[in-house]
Amino acid sequence: MTESRFTVFLVDDDAGVLKGLSRLLRARDYDVQAFTSPQEFLTNHVSSAPGCAVFDVSMPGLDGLELQQALTTEGLQRPVIFLTGKGDIPTSVRAMRAGAIDFLTKPVNDDELLDAIARAVKADISIRRASAELDSIAARLATLTPREFEVMTHVIAGRLNKQIAGYLGTAEKTIKVHRGRIMEKLGVRSVADLVRLAEKAGIPGNRP
C-alpha cells in the first residue's frame, strides 16, 4: 500500500449509486475508479494496480458474477465485493464460491462496505505477496538450462543421482554437478526446499 495506493474499482450501471459510493470511498481516502458498465471496466481497468472490485450484481450486458468470471478467465486475481438490490441466496452462494470477499445488499452501510474493503485490501496484499514469490521462483527457474530443468524434475520426483544418470544415459558424476548448480541457482539448500519451491511453481515431478 506504500509503493502504490489501493484502488477500488466500482462497477454499477446506476450513475447515482456509483456517484454516492465513489464519494463515500474517496472520503475514506481510497482511490476510486467508477465504471457504469462491465465492458467499460474490462477495457479500462489496470490489472496490476492494487485494489479491489465492487460489482453490482444486476447490470445490463454482463452481470456482476459474469464479470468476476471474466476476470478469473483472464487470470486476474482481484478481490471482488458484490452489491445487490435483492439479496437472493442462490446468487450470493454462487458469488462466494467464486471467491467473492462479500455479498452486500443495497442500500449498503458504510461500515459494512468499508469492512469488506478492508478485508479485500488484506486479500489483495496476500495475493500480491504470493504473486511476488512466484515471480522470483520463476525468475530463478528461468536461469536453469533445459538439462538442469530436466534433472530437477527427476530430483523432485525423489530419484537418486545414479537412477537419474541411468535414466538420462549419462554419468552419475554429471548428474551430481547439475544438482549442485540447480541448488545454487535456485537458492535452496536441501532437496526438501527444492521440492517445496517446485510445488509453488506448479512443476510436477517427472514420474516415468
Partner: protein
C-alpha cells in the same frame, strides 16, 4: 157470326124450305109469292132507282134479329156502322131496327113489324140492307118490299149449310159463320194430349138439343173412337155437381144451355161461366161470348171481324160493285181463341196450341210490356245497388280503417309509452311543439302544464338547453336522423338522460320535424357501469402487472435509496473531519436531493399506475410514455437479460388521451415481448420499440421482439378475453389493451415479423379529442 140463341129460327126456316121442296104445294106457293113480291119490288123500285140522283144521300138499313139489349149483335152492328161511316166519307145515313124476332117468333108479329117498317120507310131509298143475326134474314126476304125490291142484302151471320139450303137470290150476299165443334175438340186434344174422354154439355131446351145434335155429328165424324158423353138432361145444380167430379183428363165441351131438365131458363154464357168454375177438367166452348168467363177457348170468331167483313162488303156495293158478283165470304176472323188465364188454371201449355191461335186475356207481365223500361230500370237499380253496396263497403272499410288507425295509434302510443319513448312533432314556421302525453312523465311536467316548446326546454339542464333546442329545430335531412343526448332535471332534482332523435318529414324541405324522446338514463347508467367495470378490470390488470414487476420496481426505488445512503454517510464522515471539505458535503447533499426526487418519481409513476381514477383526457407525449415504461421495466429487463432498443420519431403529431391507460397498453405489449423471448438465446434477446407518424394523422407504436412469434391459429383469438398462450397468463392483457385503444379511437394490431418474432402495435388518431369516457 152465328147466334146460338136464334138457331132454332134458322132451323125453322130450313125446315120451311125443306118442306117447300119436299112438300111441293106449300113450297111452290111460297116461291110464287116470292116471285110476285120480287116483281112488285122491281116495278116499284125501278123509277126510284132511275130517278136516284148521284148526289142523293146513301142509306143503309141495319136490321137486327134481336133487340138493342142483345149485346152480341149490337156490338156487331156498331162495328159495321163505325166502319161504314169511316170508310164512306161522302156521307151515309144509317137506319137501324131491332126486330126482336128471336124472342117473339110468331108470324103475326112479324107481319106487324113488316107493316110498321113499310110505313116507316115509305119513299126512302136504301142502297143496302145489312142483316145482323139469322132471324132477320127470312123476315126481310119475306118482306123485301119494306125496303124495296132489288136493294142488295148483306147478311152477317149464316151457316154455310143454312145458306145452301135457302137458295137465296143473287142480290143477297154476306158473311158465313160456321161453328166447328170438331175443330174446338181438336184444339182440346192438342192442349190435353192425355185426355181420355169427352163430355159434351148442353141444355134441355130445343135449341140446346139442336146444338147437341150438330155437335154429335161433327164429333163423330171427326173422331168416333173417342169416348164421348152427352149431358143434356141434367138440372143446373146436378150439372155443376157432376162437372166438379170429373177426372182431370176429361175434355168438357160446353155448347149452349138455355134451359135445364126442369125447364128453368138460363143465359148460356152464365152457365158456361158457372160450369167452367165448378169443373174439375178444362171446359171448351164454341162462342166468343164464352171467352173470358173461365172456359179455355175454342175455334171461334169475333164480332169485330164479322162486323168489319160485313161492312167491307156493303162498301163495295156502295162503290158500285154489282152485288151479284159478290160471293158470300167466310169470316176471316175465325180462328182458335183461348183464354190465357184458363190455360194457366189448368196448366195447359201454349206451345201445344195450333199455329195462328189467338191467346186472349194474356196477363202480360210488366216485363213483357215494358221490356226495355224494365230492363233499364233494373239496370239502373242494379247499378244503384252496386253503387250503394260499394259505398257501404267503402264506408265499412273506412270505418275499419279508422278503427284500425285508432287502434294502431293507440297501440303505437302504448308501445311508445311502454318502451319509455315519447313522440313529438315540431313546426318550424309556427314554433309549435306537439308531444304525446307520455313526454310529461319523461320531462317531469305536471299534468296542468301546457305541452309547449318552452316548458319542455325549461326542464332541460341549463347546460344542455342550447343543444336540445338545436336538436328540435334543426333536425337533419330525411335520410339520417340526428341524435342528441340531453339531461333533464326532474322536480326532485333527479337527473334523467333523454335522447332526442329528430328528422324532417319526407324530403327534408318540410318545415315539420318529427322525432322521439327516449329516456336513456338506464342506458347511460349501464354504460357508465360498464365503463367503471372496464376501468376496474384495467386497473386490476395494471396492479397485476405491477405485482409481477414488484421486484424490479423495488430495485428501482432501492437504487436512489442506496445512492442517498452512500452520499449521506460520506457527508457525515466528511463533516466529522477536522477540516471538512464543505464543497464535497454540498455536492453530496445535492445528490441526495436529486436521488430522492428520483425515488419520488418512481413512486409517483407507480402510484399513477396503481391508481383507480376515472379515465382522463390530457395531452400525451407518446415518446415520453415509452421512456417511462422502459424505466419501469428496466430492472426487469436486466434481470431477464433483455436489451431494449428504441427508435422514437420526433415531431410526432399531438395526441391526447389517458396516459395511464396508454402506458398500460405499452407496459403490456413490452412485457408480452419480454415473455415471448424466454427461450431466445440471451445474446438475441432484444425488444425494439418504435414510434412513428403514419398517414392520416395518426401515431403508431410498434413493439418488436425476437421470440417465436405466434401461430396463425392463435392470431384471431389473442384479443379474446381469457385467451392466453402463457403458462400463468390470465388472458386479459390484450383484451384490455384492445378495449383501451378502441376507446381512444385507435386500432391494435398483431403480426409476425419476417425476421422472426412478433410485432405488436397500436395506432392512435392524432389531434383528436379523445372522449374515452363518453
Amino acid at each position: 157470326m152465328f147466334y146460338p140463341d136464334i138457331r132454332f129460327l134458322r132451323d125453322r126456316i130450313d125446315r120451311v124450305k125443306a118442306s117447300d121442296r119436299v112438300d111441293g104445294p106449300g113450297a111452290r106457293y111460297a116461291h110464287v109469292l116470292r116471285g110476285v113480291l120480287l116483281l112488285i119490288f122491281v116495278i116499284l123500285s125501278a123509277p126510284g132507282t132511275a130517278s136516284r140522283a148521284d148526289d142523293a144521300p146513301r142509306r143503309v138499313l141495319i136490321l137486327h134479329s134481336f133487340n138493342y139489349s142483345f149485346s152480341a149483335t149490337t156490338l156487331t152492328s156498331e162495328i159495321v156502322r163505325k166502319r161504314l161511316l169511316e170508310r164512306f166519307p161522302q156521307g151515309l145515313e144509317i137506319e137501324a131496327d131491332f126486330l126482336d124476332l128471336a124472342r117473339y117468333p110468331d108470324a103475326a108479329r112479324a107481319l106487324r113489324m113488316a107493316n110498321f117498317l113499310r110505313e116507316k120507310y115509305a119513299g126512302v131509298h136504301f142502297d143496302a140492307v145489312v142483316v145482323i143475326g139469322p132471324a132477320a134474314l127470312p123476315f126481310i126476304l119475306e118482306h123485301r118490299e119494306v125496303v124495296g125490291e132489288g136493294v142488295p142484302i148483306v147478311f152477317s151471320d149464316l151457316t154455310r149449310t143454312a145458306y145452301e139450303a135457302m137458295h137465296l137470290p143473287p142480290d143477297v150476299t154476306g158473311v158465313f159463320s160456321d161453328p166447328y165443334p170438331e175443330k174446338t175438340l181438336g184444339l182440346a186434344e192438342s192442349l190435353q194430349p192425355g185426355a181420355r174422354r169427352v163430355v159434351v154439355i148442353g141444355g134441355s131446351h130445343a135449341v140446346d138439343r139442336q146444338w147437341q145434335e150438330t155437335a154429335r155429328k161433327a164429333i163423330e165424324a171427326y173422331n168416333p173412337k173417342l169416348e164421348t158423353a152427352y149431358w143434356s138432361d141434367l138440372t143446373y145444380n146436378a150439372l155443376l155437381a157432376n162437372v166438379s167430379r170429373l177426372p182431370s183428363d176429361t175434355i168438357v165441351l160446353f155448347l149452349t144451355f138455355f134451359a135445364d131438365s126442369e125447364g128453368k131458363r138460363f143465359v148460356p154464357a152464365n152457365v158456361a161461366a158457372a160450369v167452367a168454375e165448378a169443373s174439375a177438367a178444362p171446359v171448351y166452348g164454341l162462342f166468343e161470348t164464352y171467352l173470358g168467363l173461365g172456359i179455355v177457348g175454342g175455334y171461334v170468331d169475333t164480332y169485330g171481324s164479322v162486323g168489319t167483313t160485313t161492312a167491307d162488303m156493303v162498301l163495295e156495293i156502295l162503290s158500285g160493285t154489282d152485288v151479284t158478283t159478290l160471293a158470300p165470304r167466310v169470316n176471316p176472323g175465325l180462328t182458335f181463341r183461348v183464354d190465357a188465364r184458363a190455360m194457366d188454371r189448368w196448366g195447359l201449355n201454349e206451345r201445344n196450341l195450333p199455329p195462328g191461335s189467338a191467346v186472349l186475356f194474356k196477363q202480360f207481365s210488366i216485363f213483357d210490356q215494358h221490356r226495355y223500361f224494365v230492363l233499364g230500370t233494373a239496370l239502373i237499380l242494379g247499378l244503384q245497388m252496386c253503387i250503394v253496396a260499394a259505398l257501404l263497403s267503402q264506408r265499412r272499410r273506412r270505418h275499419q280503417a279508422e278503427a284500425s288507425l285508432i287502434e294502431s295509434e293507440e297501440r303505437m302510443t302504448f308501445t311508445a309509452a311502454s318502451a319509455n319513448v315519447g313522440l313529438w312533432q315540431f313546426d318550424r314556421t309556427t314554433n309549435e311543439l306537439w308531444t304525446t302525453e307520455h313526454c310529461r312523465a319523461m320531462f317531469g311536467l305536471a299534468s296542468d302544464v301546457p305541452l309547449t316548446l318552452d316548458t319542455f326546454v325549461g326542464k332541460v339542464h341549463p347546460e344542455d338547453r342550447g343543444m336540445a333546442l338545436a336538436a328540435i329545430r334543426r333536425g337533419s335531412n330525411a335520410l339520417e336522423s340526428s341524435v342528441t343526448h340531453v339531461r333533464v332535471v326532474h322536480p326532485d332534482d333527479q337527473i334523467r338522460w333523454v335522447s332526442v332523435r329528430a328528422r324532417t318529414d319526407s324530403d327534408g324541405t318540410s318545415s315539420r320535424l318529427s322525432g322521439i324522446f327516449v329516456d336513456i338514463t338506464e342506458q347511460k347508467t349501464a354504460e357508465s357501469e360498464a365503463e367503471l367495470q372496464r376501468v376496474e378490470v384495467a386497473h386490476l390488470m395494471r396492479v397485476s402487472v405491477l405485482g409481477e414487476l414488484s421486484g424490479a420496481i423495488a430495485h428501482e426505488v432501492n437504487q436512489p435509496l442506496a445512492a442517498i445512503l452512500s452520499n449521506a454517510q460520506a457527508a457525515l464522515y466528511l463533516l466529522a473531519q477536522d477540516k471538512p471539505d464543505l464543497a464535497e458535503v454540498r455536492d453530496a447533499l445535492r445528490d441526495i436531493v436529486q436521488e430522492d426526487n428520483r425515488a419520488g418519481e418512481v413512486v409517483r409513476r407507480l402510484r399513477n399506475l396503481l391508481k383507480k381514477g376515472a379515465t382522463r383526457t390530457e395531452p400525451v407525449d407518446i415518446n415520453e410514455l415509452v421512456n417511462s415504461t422502459i424505466r419501469l421495466l428496466r430492472n426487469e429487463m436486466i434481470g431477464r437479460r433483455i436489451v431494449v432498443e428504441t427508435d422514437l420519431a420526433s415531431n410526432l403529431p399531438a395526441l391526447s388521451g389517458d396516459s395511464v391507460q396508454l402506458q398500460q397498453v405499452l407496459l403490456n405489449l413490452v412485457m408480452n415481448a419480454m415473455d415471448a423471448m424466454a427461450s431466445t438465446p440471451v445474446a438475441r434477446r432484444l425488444v425494439t420499440i418504435t414510434t412513428r407518424a403514419i398517414p392520416a394523422e395518426a401515431i403508431e407504436v410498434l413493439v418488436k421482439d425476437r421470440g417465436p412469434g405466434f401461430k396463425a391459429a392463435q392470431g384471431g383469438r389473442l384479443f379474446e378475453p381469457f385467451y392466453t398462450t402463457k403458462e400463468h397468463g390470465l388472458g386479459l392483457g390484450l383484451a384490455i389493451c384492445s378495449t383501451i385503444v378502441q376507446a381512444h379511437g385507435g386500432k391494435i394490431t398483431l403480426s409476425n415479423d419476417d425476421a422472426g418474432g412478433a410485432i405488436a402495435g397500436f395506432s392512435l388518431p392524432a389531434q383528436e379529442l379523445m372522449v374515452a369516457a363518453q
